[in-house]
């Protein structure tokens, strides 16, 4: 693996119209790193992934993916989008979803192809999804669909895996299983993972680096460096406590009412996670 960063942000600013999502982000992500991207809703976590995918262009600065400018459809990137459910009657199987990852972007019909089928089977095996690969995809549970999405993202042998809230809507057991799958891939092939999540705890064991984005500002480093009361207070611009309980990290802000967890967006009052124009 070369020392060239897998993803590099150089003083990147991203805005939608007049609204700045984040400013002056500079960060090198080394190959083989598992990065958790944290922050309240609306802080631009998904936009960060879209910039790497070449779907949005930064208004200032430069993004580099494996030493190149980002380009749409880069086969070196696997993408697990935010959960969206499939219609329960859709005539489509998990196997077909994974096949899209092989050649779904090519023109033409794409008849059955033994080489492609073999790759699909290997990918299904690597996420242990063989047993339900032939059932209608809309009838599968959220955890099963998520495994299939990961197989789809990995079937093209990417070097970078972008995951957008892959643990949302999953219970603890599946959160663990999905995390292990992704970390296992990272360990096996030395790939890079950018993992958007609103709760760092399920991935804490495997995370090398944390990028926390709030109100257009950001902080990056190891979890121990970033998830500290001083750093988080500076980031939020108000007093924030980072509490470690039973091996879990809770980021708790001051509040007029009882304490709340900033990482749970539905608990956070607007005053603290306000994602206006920044300060």
């Amino acid at each position: 693996m070369s020392s060239r960063p897998a993803v590099r942000f150089e003083r990147v600013t991203l805005s939608y119209g007049a609204r700045r999502i984040w400013t002056d982000l500079s960060l090198d992500i080394a190959p083989g790193t598992f990065v958790a991207i944290l922050g309240p809703n609306g802080s631009g976590k998904t936009s960060l992934l879209r910039a790497i995918l070449g779907l949005v262009a930064p208004s200032a600065g430069r993004v580099e993916v494996l030493g190149r400018a980002p380009r749409r459809g880069d086969p070196a990137i696997g993408y697990v989008p935010q959960h969206s459910s499939f219609d329960s009657e859709l005539p489509f199987r998990g196997r077909d979803l994974v096949r899209l990852g092989v050649d779904g972007h090519r023109w033409g019909i794409g008849w059955s192809d033994p080489a492609a089928n073999a790759r699909v089977n290997r990918a299904l095996g690597s996420v242990e999804a063989e047993s339900y690969a032939d059932a209608p995809i809309g009838r599968l549970s959220g955890g099963e669909q998520q495994r299939l999405r990961i197989a789809q993202a990995l079937v093209g042998d990417p070097q970078i895996l972008l995951c957008d809230e892959p643990l949302a809507n999953l219970d603890l057991r599946y959160q663990q299983a999905i995390t292990d799958l992704i970390a296992g891939w990272r360990d096996r092939v030395g790939g890079t993972v950018l993992f958007v999540t609103h709760d760092v705890n399920p991935v804490l064991r495997v995370v090398n680096q944390v990028l926390f984005v709030v109100n257009g500002r950001w902080a990056a480093g190891t979890p121990d460096e970033v998830l500290r009361s001083e750093r988080m207070s500076a980031l939020y611009g108000s007093h924030v406590d980072v509490v470690r309980v039973h091996g879990r990290i809770l980021v708790v802000g001051e509040s007029t009412e009882s304490g709340f967890n900033i990482e749970e967006p539905h608990h956070a009052p607007a005053a603290v996670v306000d994602h206006g124009d920044g300060h």
Binding site: N41, G73, P81, P91, F92, G104, L140, N169
Partner: protein, 293 residues
């Protein structure tokens, strides 16, 4: 039976069956995508504005079939460029449809020909198509199927999994417009059999029935084509024997095939398939997460 064999000697019967064959194949393939992309309302609008185009062409003494195609194609472009986003689409469709249908009323009022022409467009004219019409329908059908074959894989990707398709470089927005044009051609074809008002019987029902029969996408399209063929050819033959309009039989056969697929055949197949799936919870998809970032 003898009566039927005798009828097959007539040229108008041969024309009707040949046209019906082509139309059914196009409708069957397209309806699978219409159902998966949830575009019933757009189909209806394309048909009604096909009527406007057809009435306009009649007024100018041009081919009503080409008029249909022109009307629905112009509508497809309007809907495609004004309402790409799913939520806005139905609104745009409604706005465009209301205006276009108003024009159709004007054209048909100005037209000094027979009211039967208008009736034929509204309820289907398949037993009245000429050899020239058959060739025209064949050409439109062939172009439509070729276009669909060319974009098949990325269209499936964009239909089932738009976010990842976009990330993989599939031109999701452009494909939506191209598919609307393909739908416009399919609508112009299917109107020949069942007319504007009954268009959904060929462009929704076969696809909706087929998806109850198999979870395999390719096989679902084959089933959809088979159902469309059965309804169209069956409908034409029954109409010839009984003298009742073709539309009556096509819609009945199509509805029957849906009921059978949904309540008799489909459930057993699905249950069996799910029973073979062992462990993880069978609670169905979790609610959609709110959009972050």
């Amino acid at each position: 039976m003898d009566q039927l064999v005798g009828l097959l000697g007539y040229e108008f019967v041969q024309n009707a069956l040949a046209a019906g064959f082509v139309i059914a194949i196009v409708s069957g393939v397209v309806s699978g995508f219409v159902v998966a992309r949830n575009m019933s309302f757009a189909v209806h609008a394309l048909a009604e504005l096909g009527f406007t185009g057809s009435a306009g062409f009649l007024l100018l003494h041009l081919s009503p079939v080409l008029g249909l195609l022109a009307g629905s194609a112009v509508t497809a472009v309007f809907i495609g460029t004004l309402g790409v986003r799913a939520r806005g689409r139905d609104v745009v469709v409604g706005v465009v449809m209301a205006f276009g249908l108003g024009l159709g009323v004007l054209f048909i009022t100005l037209y000094k020909g027979y009211a039967t022409q208008a009736f034929a467009i509204l309820f289907g004219t398949i037993t009245g198509v000429s050899r020239g019409d058959v060739l025209l329908l064949l050409a439109i059908g062939a172009v439509t199927l070729l276009a669909l074959a060319a974009i098949y894989r990325p269209l499936v990707f964009a239909t089932v999994d738009p976010e990842v398709a976009e990330a993989r470089g599939v031109p999701v927005g452009a494909l939506a417009v191209v598919f609307l044009l393909i739908m416009a051609a399919a609508v112009a074809e299917a109107i020949q059999v069942v007319g504007v008002l009954l268009i959904l019987t060929l462009l929704i029902t076969p696809g909706a029935a087929a998806e109850r029969l198999t979870p395999r996408p390719g096989l679902a399209i084959a089933c959809s084509v088979a159902i469309a063929l059965l309804c169209t050819i069956g409908g034409i033959l029954l109409s010839l024997v009984t003298n009742a309009p073709v539309s009556v039989f096509v819609t009945s056969l199509s509805f029957l095939s849906y009921l059978l697929a949904r309540f008799a055949i489909g459930p057993r197949r699905t249950e069996r398939r799910l029973a073979s799936v062992p462990t993880e919870a069978r609670s169905g998809p979790a609610p959609t997460a709110s959009k972050t970032g």
